[in-house]
């Protein structure tokens, strides 16, 4: 009691232990199977999608938003604390347990088709969520974390994300040149193939240029795309050797679905937003108003604050626990988990989001990133203000 002073109580991170839930969600397909064994209800094979598509958006609605930021004085210490790194690392073994266990069950579990399908979606979902883990690690600069990022991306066959996200997306974000920035009027189903193809192509070009500068071939083992994809090939080959050929379609389809989950999140992160060109033809820097944000607590916990997206793009190496809410940035009406469900239904998405984009630009849609085929029509409709 002798140390009592009048100073404010030390700040504590309210989310500190909640970040452990990021590990817990990686095991969802297996808990679902456990619940099935216990109750005999096949419904439990679908536990993972039910939680992600309905319970988390519901919690976002009920729990609401947390706009608080850690005080500036603790940021440096908070960023250094190893605990937060280990929480992210620990999600990877959990992810692999679900992937390996799930694939085993799919082949050897003697499942009926709706059980098998539920398991496929569940495992794909954890693989997709693992891209977020790979994302967090891929932005760090230590060798260990960069390797862990590639390992987290292997079950979802998304190794190129390691290259394209940092050196492609972060450079071209909120421009028409970025495959991972969705355009006003572009539905998720138009965006998905454009983004997948564009991202792989870009990742390949980026590594080709880097290696050529060093006088090496793009087929060099130093190509980060090839390294990351090789982990997928080795993993899938080992699983197939162990479980037989039926493991392969399961792994490929869960991976494709997992990848689509990343892309639907990409779809809503920058929808319609665009950096303006400066007089010299280059783009203005990426600023907080070039990303869609959300402070909804439930989704922020299981996506490691990914929804504080403006701060992430302004400061890409900032660790998740220190990402801040900014005032006056574009805000989504629900968390990313709820908004991906909206994105699956284009007419609903346009109805919810298009007015928000128009409002964001104060009606001057000439500043928006619009799907080229409808650009003239949109500009005619809203006028291009100064034009």
């Amino acid at each position: 009691m002798t140390t009592a002073t009048l100073s404010a109580p030390a700040w504590t991170d309210k989310k500190r232990y909640l970040w452990l839930l990021g590990i817990v969600v990686m095991g969802l397909p297996l808990y679902g199977y456990g619940l099935y064994l216990w109750t005999g209800l096949s419904l439990f094979f679908w536990t993972t999608p039910v939680i992600v598509y309905t319970l988390i958006p519901l919690f976002d609605r009920l729990i609401g938003e947390d706009e608080s930021n850690p005080p500036d004085g603790v940021m440096a210490a908070l960023a250094q604390e190893k605990y937060y790194r280990y929480v992210v690392y620990a999600a990877i073994p959990a992810q692999y347990l679900s992937f390996i266990g799930g694939t085993y069950l799919a082949v050897r579990g003697d499942l009926v088709w709706y059980q098998w399908l539920g398991l496929l979606v569940s495992v794909g979902m954890t693989s997709g969520l693992a891209i977020n883990v790979g994302h967090e690690l891929g932005h760090q600069t230590s060798k260990l974390e960069r390797w862990l990022a590639k390992i987290a991306l292997a079950p979802v066959m998304y190794g190129h994300f390691y290259v394209e996200h940092n050196r492609g997306h972060h450079v071209r974000v909120a421009t028409p040149e970025d495959p991972a920035t969705s355009r006003f009027g572009e539905s998720f189903y138009e965006f998905l193939p454009r983004c997948v193809y564009g991202s792989i192509k870009s990742a390949w070009e980026i590594e080709k240029q880097r290696l050529e500068k060093q006088g090496k071939s793009v087929w060099s083992i130093e190509n980060d795309n090839l390294q990351a994809w090789a982990i997928t090939v080795a993993l899938f080959a080992a699983m197939t050797a162990w479980l037989g050929w039926w493991a392969l379609p399961f792994m490929i389809v869960q991976g494709a679905y997992g990848g689509s989950l990343l892309e639907v999140v990409n779809y809503l992160e920058h929808y319609g937003l665009r950096r303006q060109k400066k007089a010299d033809g280059s783009y203005e820097r990426c600023q907080p108003h070039h990303s869609w944000n959300s402070n909804h607590t439930a989704t922020n916990i299981f996506l490691y604050h990914l929804q504080r997206h403006s701060d992430h793009h302004a400061n890409p190496t900032r660790s998740f626990q220190t990402l801040r809410n900014f005032e006056g940035v574009p805000r989504l009406p629900n968390g990313y988990a709820g908004m991906i469900v909206v994105a699956y239904i284009p007419w609903l998405w346009f109805r919810v989001m298009d007015p928000k984009v128009v409002q964001h630009f104060g009606g001057d849609m000439s500043k928006a990133n619009i799907k080229p085929s409808i650009r003239d029509r949109i500009l005619a409709k809203y006028g291009s203000a100064t034009a």
Binding site: H139, H170, V171, C286, H313
Partner: protein, 55 residues
């Protein structure tokens, strides 16, 4: 004159060239670039740059 590379996105800061459009004149040594300056391409902090041994 040295070159510094952004660890996040590979942007290269060339001391000889500077970044005139951001007020950093050609010939500005890395240590004279303000600590608040960030990568023009991706926003990474000055501390996220490494020196590059090139020509």
């Amino acid at each position: 004159m040295k070159k510094w590379r952004c660890l996040v996105c590979d942007f290269v800061y060339d001391e000889a060239k500077g970044v005139p459009e951001e007020g950093i004149a050609p010939g500005t040594r890395w240590e004279d670039v303000p600590d608040s300056w960030t990568c023009p391409d991706c926003g990474a902090a000055k501390s996220d740059f490494v020196m590059e041994e090139i020509d």
